[in-house]
C-alpha cells in the first residue's frame, strides 16, 4: 500500500503539473495572441459587431477611413483611396500589415475598458471604437503614388529622421479597399512592399560597405584605388557599370560615381566577417520588430562560400536582400548623426471619451554608426548628389544627400535592373529621408532618383 501511495503521488503530481502547464500555456497564448485571433478576418463578430469602427486620420487630422451607416468609407478619389490602401489595409483582412487589421482591436475596442461597456449599456448608444491617428500624410502619399512610373512595381518610404515618424508608404501595385477579397485585385497588391518587399540592394548597399571600412580602418579615407573598368580577383571578375574606367580615384569619388571595382576591392580588403559584422550591426539578418510594425528580415550571407560572394556582397549583389523600410532606416541613421530613431506609424489612439489610449513618442531605438562615421557617409552622399550619380536628386535651396543603386536581379542582360535611391535632406527644420525602389526601372540614377527627389520636395510642400 505504501508503494501504491507513492506511485499515486508521482502520477498525481504529474497530472496536476500537466494541468498547471496547460493552464499557464493557455493563459499565455490567449494573453499574447487573443487580440490577433479576435481581429482575424474570419471573425464574423467583427462585421456583426455592434461596435462602430473608429476613424483613421492622417497627421493633419484628414479622415482617411470612417464608418457611415455601418459601412466603411474611404477617400472618394479612387487614386487616393488606392494609394492609402497600402497603409490602411481593408476590413476583410486581406492585407497583413494594414491598420484596419493590425489595429482592429483598438478600432473596435475589443480590448476596451469595462467602464466603456457599462456606459454604452446604460446610455443605449452604440459603442464607437477608438480612433487612430497616423503619422502619415495622406496628400503626400497620394502625390507620390500618382508620380510613380505607370505600370511599374515598387515602393517608396518617406520618413522624418529626427522623430522617426513615417510620412508616406507607397507600394505598387496598389488596390482598391472596396475590392478587397475579390479577383479584381492585382496579384501581390496586398503586400506593403516597403515592409515586406525584399530586394537586392545593388549600389545603395555601398553605404554599408563604406561604413564597415570607415569603422575598421579610418585611414581608408586617404587611400586611392585603381579602376580600369574591371577587376579580376581569384576566381572571377567584377565590372563597373558600362565598363567605365574610373582611373585612379579616392574613396569619396568612388562612392559618388558608384565605382564597383573600388567597392569590390574594399569588401575584399575588409574580409567577410568584418563586413558581415557591420551589416548585422545595422540590422541585417534580424527581425526588425518595432512597436508599430514589423519589417521583414533583410539578409546578408552568413557563410562565405567563395571570394566572389564577398566581392559582390560589397556592392550589394548576390544573396544580399533589403527592404525599402530598412534602407530608409539606415539612411535616417546616417542623417541623424548615427542614431536610428524608433519608427512611428501611429501618432495617437484616442478613445471615444477623448482619453488617450496610446501616444506615439519619439525615442532612440539604437545607434547604428558612430558620429564621425555617420558624418563622413553623409558627406560622401552629398558628393554623390553634387557631382556623382545622384545629381537628379538636387533640390533648390536645400542640401540633399543620397545614393543610387541599379540592382541586377537576373543574369539575363535584357532584364532591366531594379532602380534604387536612398537619401535625405540635410536640414534641421525639414529632416526628411526617403528610400525608393522601382522594379525593373533601369538605372537608379534616373527613375528612382527623380521619384525620390519628387517625394522629398512633396514632403517639404505638404508636411512643411
Amino acid at each position: 500500500m505504501k508503494e501504491l501511495r507513492r506511485n499515486m503521488r508521482i502520477v498525481g503530481t504529474l497530472v496536476v503539473v500537466a494541468f498547471l502547464v496547460l493552464s499557464g500555456f493557455f493563459a499565455l497564448t490567449v494573453f499574447e495572441q487573443g487580440s490577433i485571433w479576435a481581429s482575424n478576418s474570419h471573425n464574423t463578430r467583427l462585421s456583426v459587431s455592434k461596435v462602430q469602427r473608429g476613424d483613421i486620420t492622417d497627421r493633419d487630422g484628414v479622415v482617411m477611413a470612417t464608418t457611415v451607416d455601418g459601412q466603411r468609407v474611404y477617400a472618394s478619389d479612387t487614386a487616393t483611396r488606392r494609394a492609402l490602401a497600402v497603409t490602411l489595409g481593408d476590413t476583410s483582412g486581406m492585407s497583413g500589415t494594414g491598420i484596419e487589421g493590425v489595429y482592429s482591436s483598438h478600432l473596435l475596442d475589443l480590448s476596451d475598458s469595462f467602464a466603456g461597456r457599462i456606459k454604452s449599456l446604460v446610455s443605449g448608444a452604440p459603442r464607437v471604437g477608438s480612433s487612430v491617428q497616423l503619422t502619415v500624410d495622406s496628400e503626400l502619399t497620394a502625390a507620390i503614388a500618382s508620380r510613380f512610373p505607370a505600370g511599374y512595381r515598387g515602393a517608396v518610404v518617406v520618413m522624418n529622421y529626427k522623430t522617426g515618424e513615417i510620412l508616406a508608404f507607397v507600394s505598387k501595385p496598389d488596390y482598391d479597399p472596396y475590392d478587397a477579397g475579390t479577383d479584381r485585385v492585382e496579384d501581390t497588391a496586398y503586400l506593403n512592399r516597403c515592409l515586406q518587399g525584399r530586394y537586392t540592394p545593388g549600389s545603395v548597399f555601398k553605404i554599408v560597405t563604406l561604413a564597415s571600412a570607415l569603422q575598421n580602418d579610418p585611414g581608408v579615407v586617404g587611400q586611392t584605388f585603381l579602376c580600369s573598368g574591371s577587376w579580376n580577383y581569384e576566381n572571377g571578375s567584377i565590372v563597373c557599370a558600362g565598363q567605365n574606367s574610373h582611373g585612379n580615384i579616392d574613396l569619396q569619388t568612388a562612392f559618388a560615381r558608384s565605382c564597383n571595382v573600388t567597392f569590390g576591392k574594399l569588401a575584399y580588403q575588409l574580409g567577410f566577417s568584418r563586413l558581415r559584422a557591420t551589416a548585422e550591426q545595422l540590422g541585417f539578418n534580424e527581425n526588425l520588430k518595432f512597436d508599430d510594425f514589423a519589417v521583414y528580415n533583410s539578409a546578408f550571407p552568413t557563410v562565405q562560400n567563395n571570394t566572389s560572394e564577398l566581392v559582390w556582397a560589397g556592392i550589394g549583389q548576390g544573396t544580399v536582400l533589403v527592404t525599402p523600410m530598412h534602407m530608409a532606416l539606415i539612411t535616417s541613421a546616417v542623417a541623424n548623426n548615427g542614431v536610428m530613431m524608433e519608427p512611428l506609424l501611429v501618432r495617437r489612439i484616442e478613445g471615444t471619451s477623448g482619453n488617450v489610449v496610446r501616444q506615439g513618442i519619439s525615442r532612440e531605438n539604437r545607434r547604428l554608426f558612430s558620429e564621425p562615421v555617420a558624418q563622413t557617409i553623409a558627406a560622401y552622399m552629398y558628393g554623390a548628389v553634387q557631382n556623382g550619380t545622384a545629381t537628379r536628386a538636387k533640390i533648390d535651396g536645400y542640401t540633399v544627400c543620397g545614393k543610387t543603386g541599379s540592382a541586377e536581379t537576373s543574369n539575363d542582360k535584357n532584364v532591366e535592373t531594379n532602380a534604387w535611391f536612398t537619401g535625405f535632406i540635410y536640414d534641421e527644420a525639414h529632416p526628411y529621408a526617403a528610400a525608393a525602389v522601382v522594379e525593373q526601372g533601369g538605372a537608379g540614377s534616373r527613375t528612382a532618383t527623380e521619384l525620390s527627389a519628387f517625394a522629398l520636395q512633396a514632403a517639404l510642400y505638404f508636411v512643411g
Binding site: M1, E3, L4, R5, R6, N7, M8, R9, V11, G12, V15, V16, A18, F19, L20, L22, S23, F25, F26, A27, T29, V30, F31, Q33, G34, S35, I36, W37, A38, S39, N40, H42, N43, T44, R45, V48, L110, S111, F114, R117
Partner: protein, 428 residues
C-alpha cells in the same frame, strides 16, 4: 462506537466548506438571474433555475453528507461545474430546451451519483464480478457496430428505445472497476496480463469506431493505473512507447488522423472548411479577452459544437480568460482532493478505483481543453460535467459518486481507528 462516528461527522461538517457552499450558491443565483434578464423579456425558465440551482446544491450537499461522511469539498466543486454548464448553455443556446434537458440530465446524474456512493460502500464482490464486468464492457463497446450509427465521423452511439447513448462514456467507470480489480493486491506481471488484454481489446474496438479521444483516454488511464499498482517503471515506459508507435502507425495509415494533425498544426491555412472549427474556437476565445463578452453576449454559436465539444471556448468567450483559468483550477482542486481520497483508501481496489477515476477526469479535461485551444490535437471528448450530453453527464457523476463513496468509507475507517486507539488507551 456510534458516538465516535458521530464525532467524526461533526468534525467533517465543521471543516470549512460552508463558505465554499455559500459562494457557489451565490454564483449560481446571480449568474442565472443575469441570464434571465439578458433578452427583451424575462426568461421564466432562467428565473426558476436561479432558485432551483442553489436549492438543489444545498439539499444535495447537506443531505448526502448527513447520510454518509463524504468529502464535501469534492461534491460542492462538482456541483459548481454542473451549474457552470447549465448557466453557459442557458446564456448561449437559441432554444430553452437545451439547458432544460441538461438540467434533467444533471438530476439523473445526481441520482446515479447517490447510487454510486451507496453502491461502492456496500458492494464487496468486486473480485468475483471482475470478468462479468469485463464481458459487459466489451459487449457494450462493441454494440455500436450492431445497433449504432455514425456520428461526426465516429461510430460510437447506439439507440436504446428512442434515446441515443454513448457506450464508451458509460463503460468508463466499469472499465476502471475491472482494471482496479485486476491490478489490486500487487499482482505479478503475468497476473495482470488478462486485464491488460482486456484493456487492449477495448482500445481496439474504440479505434475501429474511430473514437480517437476515447482510445486515448482508455489507454492512458490503463497505463497510469498499471504503473501505480505495480510500480513497474520499465514496463510502463514500454507501454507508453508502444502507444507512441501505435500513434505513429495510426497517423501513417489513417487519413483522418493526418487530417486532424494537419489542422492542429495550422488551422489558418483552411479557415473556411477543415480548420473552421478550431479557427472559430480560437476567435471566440480571443474575442472573450480577459473578462469575457459577458453572459449572453458575444456569439459563441459561431463555433460548431459550441455546446458540447467546444463548450470551453464558449465559456472562455462568455466569462473571459480569468474565469476559464479558474475553471481549470476547480478541476485541479477536485483532482487533488480525489488523490487524497485514493491515498487514504484502505484496500488497494478502492484506492486504485479512486485513482483511476481522478486520472481519467484529469486526462479528459486536459484533452478537450487542449483541443479547444490548439495546444493539443483535437479529439472529440466532452468536457466532464460541463459539456452538454446525457451519457457523459450520468457516467461522470456516477464515477464521482464512487469517489465520494470511497471517501465516506475512508472517513468511517478513520473513525474506527480513533475508536480502537481510544479503547486501547482506556485499557492501558
Amino acid at each position: 462506537m456510534n458516538r465516535k462516528i458521530q464525532r467524526m461527522r461533526q468534525a467533517l461538517r465543521r471543516s470549512n466548506t460552508r463558505l465554499l457552499l455559500t459562494a457557489v450558491m451565490l454564483f449560481q443565483f446571480t449568474s442565472m438571474l443575469l441570464t434571465a434578464f439578458r433578452g427583451s423579456g424575462i426568461s421564466l425558465q432562467c428565473v426558476a433555475l436561479a432558485f432551483a440551482l442553489p436549492a438543489v446544491t444545498f439539499v444535495t450537499v447537506t443531505g448526502l453528507s448527513k447520510i454518509w461522511p463524504i468529502d464535501r469539498a469534492i461534491l460542492i466543486l462538482v456541483l459548481l461545474l454542473l451549474s457552470v454548464g447549465i448557466i453557459t448553455l442557458s446564456a448561449i443556446t437559441k432554444s430553452e430546451i437545451t439547458p432544460r434537458t441538461q438540467a434533467v440530465y444533471s438530476l439523473g446524474g445526481l441520482g446515479a451519483m447517490t447510487f454510486g456512493i451507496w453502491f461502492v460502500q456496500n458492494w464487496r464482490g468486486w473480485k468475483k464480478w471482475q470478468w462479468w464486468l469485463a464481458g459487459l464492457c466489451v459487449l457494450a463497446l462493441f454494440a455500436p457496430w450492431v445497433i449504432g450509427r455514425w456520428h461526426y465521423g465516429a461510430r460510437n452511439w447506439i439507440q436504446l428505445g428512442g434515446i441515443s447513448v454513448q457506450p464508451s462514456e458509460f463503460m468508463k467507470p466499469v472499465m476502471i472497476a475491472v482494471l482496479a480489480a485486476g491490478f489490486s493486491n500487487r499482482p505479478r506481471f503475468l497476473k495482470t496480463l488478462p486485464t491488460i488484454a482486456f484493456a487492449a481489446v477495448c482500445c481496439g474496438i474504440l479505434l475501429s469506431q474511430r473514437d480517437l479521444g476515447a482510445v486515448l483516454l482508455y489507454f492512458l488511464t490503463t497505463v497510469f493505473m498499471f504503473y501505480a499498482a505495480t510500480s513497474n517503471g520499465a514496463l510502463t515506459i514500454a507501454g507508453l512507447g508502444m502507444g507512441c508507435v501505435a500513434a505513429v502507425l495510426a497517423y501513417r495509415a489513417l487519413p483522418y488522423v493526418q487530417d486532424r494533425i494537419a489542422i492542429w498544426i495550422n488551422p489558418w491555412t483552411d479557415p473556411q472548411d477543415r480548420g473552421y472549427q478550431l479557427v472559430q474556437s480560437l476567435i471566440a476565445i480571443g474575442s472573450g479577452g480577459m473578462f469575457g463578452m459577458g453572459l449572453g453576449l458575444g456569439s459563441p454559436r459561431n463555433v460548431p459544437l459550441y455546446h458540447s465539444d467546444f463548450i470551453f471556448a464558449s465559456v472562455a468567450e462568455e466569462f473571459g480568460l480569468i474565469f476559464a483559468v479558474c475553471l481549470l483550477a476547480v478541476y485541479v482542486l477536485i483532482i487533488l482532493r480525489g488523490l487524497i481520497v485514493a491515498m487514504n483508501a484502505r484496500t488497494s481496489f478502492h484506492s486504485l478505483a479512486a485513482f483511476g477515476i481522478v486520472v481519467l477526469l484529469g486526462l479528459q479535461t486536459m484533452l478537450i481543453v487542449g483541443g479547444n485551444t490548439k495546444l493539443l490535437p483535437l479529439t472529440g471528448v466532452t468536457m466532464p460535467l460541463v459539456s452538454y450530453g446525457g451519457s457523459s453527464m450520468v457516467s461522470t457523476l456516477f464515477s464521482m459518486g464512487i469517489l465520494l463513496g470511497i471517501s465516506a468509507g475512508n472517513a468511517r475507517d478513520e473513525a474506527r481507528d480513533i475508536d480502537i486507539l481510544e479503547t486501547r488507551e482506556d485499557m492501558l
